[in-house]
């Protein structure tokens, strides 16, 4: 079953084109990594799919229905987003923040049911933040806060999860923790996941498919092995790289080097 279907998507910010014709199909249960340089349109693509931008031309369909025709509350039960910026200005407790993930299911003056509490608790146990429930969201470390925000998204009981740079500003142990979490959501729960990532190696190690964006267009799409190739990466990022293999996972691994050695590598070619 096709979960997300995008055809001829164009997005402009004040006459400046950001996405120039994206065609994409994401099947149910896929774990798609979206990579590409700054300004290539990764976040914009995510925001268009999640319905935050409605100023686009072309068509985006979620589960066969155009994004413009989804009612927001209905869409929020189908698709959840972990935004890039998770700063919160008020001292909500972690439990209160995760409970907000139930708001697409609750009406005014309606109390949470046992089911709501149950979903919230499972989401928090899954992301290992249940023991943080009475702490203020603003006292948490970056990794803990990210887990809490993911728990909020899971409390929406979505079929599709979108994440915008879920591991930036995190230490490496927390980066692995977050991606482990996503991988088990993907394999155990069959959740369709789209994650924008700056970290090409992490994306290659975890995602079943990578999409490389360049200047608002899809440069290439395929398995990590097909995308993390030297000529592809050098073409888009304009910097010499070495591609090795992660000895543990066998996934391609990208290495960088100081500019003074660039000539050396070039010479070896």
């Amino acid at each position: 079953m096709v979960n997300i279907e995008i055809s001829r998507l164009f997005v402009c910010y004040d006459d400046y084109p950001v996405l120039k014709g994206i065609d994409l199909e994401v099947a149910e249960g896929e774990f798609l990594g979206i990579i590409g340089p700054n300004g290539s349109g990764k976040s914009t693509l995510l925001k268009s799919i999640s319905g935050i931008f409605r100023d686009f031309s072309g068509e985006i369909k979620v589960r066969g229905r155009s994004i413009r025709r989804w009612r927001r509350r209905q869409l929020a039960r189908m698709l959840a987003v972990v935004p890039q910026d998770t700063t919160i200005s008020f001292d909500f407790t972690v439990l209160e923040v995760v409970m907000m993930g139930r708001s697409p299911y609750l009406r005014g003056f309606q109390a949470e049911t046992a089911h709501d509490l149950d979903v919230v608790r499972r989401a928090m146990e899954f992301t290992e933040c249940w023991q943080l429930r009475d702490r203020s969201i603003n006292e948490l470390s970056g990794g803990e806060r990210q887990r809490a925000v993911i728990a909020r998204a899971l409390a929406q009981e979505p079929h599709i999860l979108l994440l915008d740079e879920p591991t930036t500003h995190l230490d490496i142990n927390h980066q692995v923790e977050i991606f482990d979490l996503l991988a088990s959501l993907n394999t155990d729960e069959g959740m369709t996941i789209l994650a924008v990532s700056h970290d090409l190696n992490l994306a290659a190690a975890y995602c079943s498919k990578l999409m490389l964006l360049d200047k608002g267009r899809i440069h290439s799409i395929g398995t990590p092995g097909e995308i993390l190739r030297r000529e592809v990466i050098e073409d888009v990022y304009q910097t010499p790289v070495i591609i090795g293999k992660n000895p543990a996972t066998g996934s391609p691994n990208l290495m960088l080097m100081p500019s003074e050695l660039h000539g050396l590598v070039q010479g070896k070619r």
Binding site: Q74, D91, E96, S103, G108, R121
Partner: protein, 347 residues
Amino acid sequence: MIYEYQKKFYRRWATVNLSLLIAVIAGAFLALSIGPSRTSLIDVLGVFLGERTTTPEWVSNVILRIRLPRIILAIVAGASLSVSGVVFQAVLGNPLADPYILGVSSGAVAGAALVTVFGIGKGTFGQLVIPTVSFVGSLLAMILVYIVARIGGRVRSQTLLLAGVIVNFFLGAVIMLLMSISNRELHEIVYLLMGNLGYVFSERTIWMLWIAGGLTLLGAILLLWRSRELNALSLGEESATQLGIDIQRFRLFLLFIVSLMIGAAVSLCGLIGFVGLIVPHATRMLSGPDHRTLIPAAALSGAVFLILADTLARTVAPIEIPVGVVTAIVGGPFFIYLLRTRRPGYI
């Protein structure tokens, strides 16, 4: 588990709101008994328990005709200003927002001054024009602040405060222009600028107090109804959208309700500053940031705060000082304290 969570929520809700309700009643009785005419709490109780035979008529007149409307006005204005502050802070995602600082109250005053100067606000119909134009004025000021302060979907403190300064300057100029072309209406505008609860209601105008009170109550109930969405909105526009809220429509709904509440209060009592800043902050320490508890709690504590501030204003000096002076003297330093101590994340 569900039991534990809900018990905790309801217990906190009831504890906070019931104790504040008791504080409002106690504060009101205290304020009823204090004033230039010497009366005691016993007199107040006497008047309310119907023992009018034992209380002299002048005492019941002072308490029921002079002090009671004033205290009800304090309750209405305190509740509406502090609930407006709560809503502003949620809409802008910024705890420094307040209708006075952002120039929204000035918008309401400019509206009222406009009507006063052009002499439309006379007669029963005219008295309805003043709050209506105040409402329009505060709505326009709010939209202006919002457009100026919002950059890329986020409202930063710097731009927000700057927007407030600009809108306040602009509306200040409008109000001064109106003052300079006015004659006998000058003192009415000055009265609005100073912030005062001494509006004298006659038998024929007392209904304005009931309308203001009714609008405030209605507004608070509507906001309570949408309080779950207010919680989501205070996480930021993007998070709220993806939690299923139609931000555009919800924001319009909120701005409309809040303008109505501010217009109703300000057209009667003028510029009373910082209530929308001090009270929500103090209340959050008791109730937490959950709007389901915060909205009623902020309404009640706004009422207590303004009753006490006004009692102080009536009694501290040999002559009555405007209550706006009292709240600004307390509020200015409090604002600086907030500005200096909030965590760097959101200032």
